[in-house]
């Protein structure tokens, strides 16, 4: 079966340095890919290119067969994207914000209402539906961003640090949510919390200094060293020493 996400030789150069260097991988339906790496390794840049926000210097990325540069609107229709920091419009209410993204995605009338209600139920936002987003705590804001990405039930989910700023209970909820959705979707999550990879991911990719250093299931990674922590340190620090 064809992969829902295809990334081929993706490269991004900024003035003076290469943020993402010749990365290739694909993600099929049913896979949850954990995207690991130290801060500044190029995780967010890769995700931004995959989401069609940043044009790649070289290489291609496609979502459900649509190239993100050549057919951006088609690619984005099949994508739920949580950008880094979960940005939202602060003056809007939770329900208003979700309705806005839903309308852009072409929903209207009772379907729009059903979709926003469902997205709020999935992320436990019903209690704050009419509050302006700026009055919410960090964990709620993150869940508003998540709700926006899930609203249209997309086949591809790209989530940049989905559990950052959540308390342990909320982290657990989000991981449960990801696990429940996993069979029908291709999911990429970036994180620097290693136990999260073991908990939800079927596959892990480690990048350091823009290069892909490991692509393997978490269980295989753990066999190589004593723990994921050690593997991560060895691979990413080793790269820097070289």
């Amino acid at each position: 079966m064809a992969a829902l996400i295809e990334i081929e030789r993706l490269t991004k150069r900024f003035a003076g340095f290469t943020a993402v260097d010749d990365i290739s991988f694909s993600v099929a339906r049913g896979e949850v890919l954990g995207f690991l790496g130290p801060n500044g390794a190029g995780k967010s840049t890769t995700m931004r290119m995959l989401a069609g926000f940043m044009p790649p210097t070289a290489g291609t990325a496609s979502i459900c067969g649509a190239d993100v540069v050549d057919q951006p609107v088609r690619a984005k229709r099949n994508l739920g994207f949580l950008p880094e920091g979960a940005p939202t419009y602060p003056e809007m209410t939770v329900a208003g914000f979700l309705a806005f993204t839903g309308r852009i995605r072409g929903f209207r009338g009772s379907e729009l209402a059903d979709r926003t209600d469902h997205a709020m139920a999935l992320t436990q936002l019903e209690g704050v539906r009419l509050q302006p987003i700026e009055t919410l705590s960090k964990g709620f804001k993150r869940r508003v961003g998540l709700a926006q990405a899930l609203l249209h039930d997309p086949p591809v989910l790209v989530l940049d640090e989905p559990t950052d700023g959540l308390d342990p209970n909320q982290k657990h909820e989000v991981r449960e949510l990801i696990r429940r959705m996993a069979p029908e979707k291709a999911i990429v999550i970036s994180t620097h919390i290693l136990e999260e990879v073991g908990a939800v991911c079927t596959r892990a990719i480690i990048i350091a200094r823009g290069r892909l250093v490991v692509d393997a299931p978490p269980s295989v990674l753990e066999e190589q060293g004593s723990s994921l922590d050690d593997v991560f340190r060895r691979l990413t620090l080793g790269q820097e020493a070289a």
Binding site: R48, L79, P83, Y89, M92, R105
Partner: protein
């Protein structure tokens, strides 16, 4: 187009959810009213028209419109929502057009709220309301031109102060291009440029509207001015959105 209108609707309600709308409209109305009645000699002229009002509006817009546009893209960058907006399934031009339409509609609302002046002049005398209407159309087109220019500048930089100063300077360039000072200076030295300057001047085009003349070539001028800068905005955005 649907996507552009959805963006415009969100933007416009954003203006009214923050103090931006109140501050802008109150300052605009106070200044427009005060200038019309003091410097404009509204009563002493003894004529039932809104010429004093229309002569000040473009100059007010020169400062107020860039204040509106300076945050258009800079704010999206600061909040990071630009990443959200541009990864939603909408063509990029729809985001540009939506933002412009919202700001334009907002200026339209501010202009519409000067209606007491129209009532006043109708009570005091019998003005040609057709001329007044065409004056308002002219004001709206000037606002649109400045908005398009300011929005393009705002896409260029993430610093709001730079966006404001640059937009005021560029708007002033187009406002002053047809003024006697500039054209006489150019006439004595480079007569060709004087013609071009007059042709590009926003103020010259606006003058026709205040006299009640809605000429096709003036409409075409404003339409192409707005279209050109919206295009520039889209191109600049495409190159610098992630900076």
């Amino acid at each position: 187009m649907r996507a552009a209108l959805i963006v415009a609707r969100r933007e416009l309600s954003g203006y009214f959810a923050t103090p931006v709308a109140t501050v802008f409209i109150v300052i605009f109305l106070v200044l427009a009213g005060a200038l019309t009645f003091t410097l404009g000699n509204f009563f002493d002229r003894g004529q039932a028209d809104l010429i004093p009002f229309f002569s000040f509006v473009p100059w007010l817009f020169l400062f107020l419109v860039p204040a509106l546009t300076m945050r258009l893209w800079a704010e999206e960058r600061r909040l990071g929502t630009i990443e959200l907006l541009l990864t939603l399934p909408l063509p990029q031009w729809a985001a540009v057009l939506g933002k412009f339409l919202a700001a334009w509609a907002f200026c339209g609302i501010a202009l519409a709220l000067t209606f007491p002046l129209v009532i006043t002049v109708n009570i005091l005398g019998s003005p040609d309301n057709g001329v007044i209407l065409s004056g308002y159309v002219g004001c709206l087109l000037v606002a649109g031109a400045y908005l398009a220019l300011g929005a393009a500048v705002s896409a260029l930089t993430r610093n709001q102060v730079i966006a404001f100063v640059l937009a005021v300077a560029l708007c002033f360039l187009f406002a002053a291009a047809g003024s006697p000072v500039v054209t006489e200076f150019l006439n004595t030295r480079l007569p060709v440029l004087a013609e071009i300057a007059r042709g590009l001047s926003v103020a010259d085009r606006f003058g026709g509207f205040t006299r009640g003349v809605i000429a096709a070539r003036d409409i075409i001028y404003f339409a192409s001015f707005i279209g050109f800068f919206l295009f520039v905005n889209a191109v600049v955005l495409d190159h610098r959105k992630a900076d």
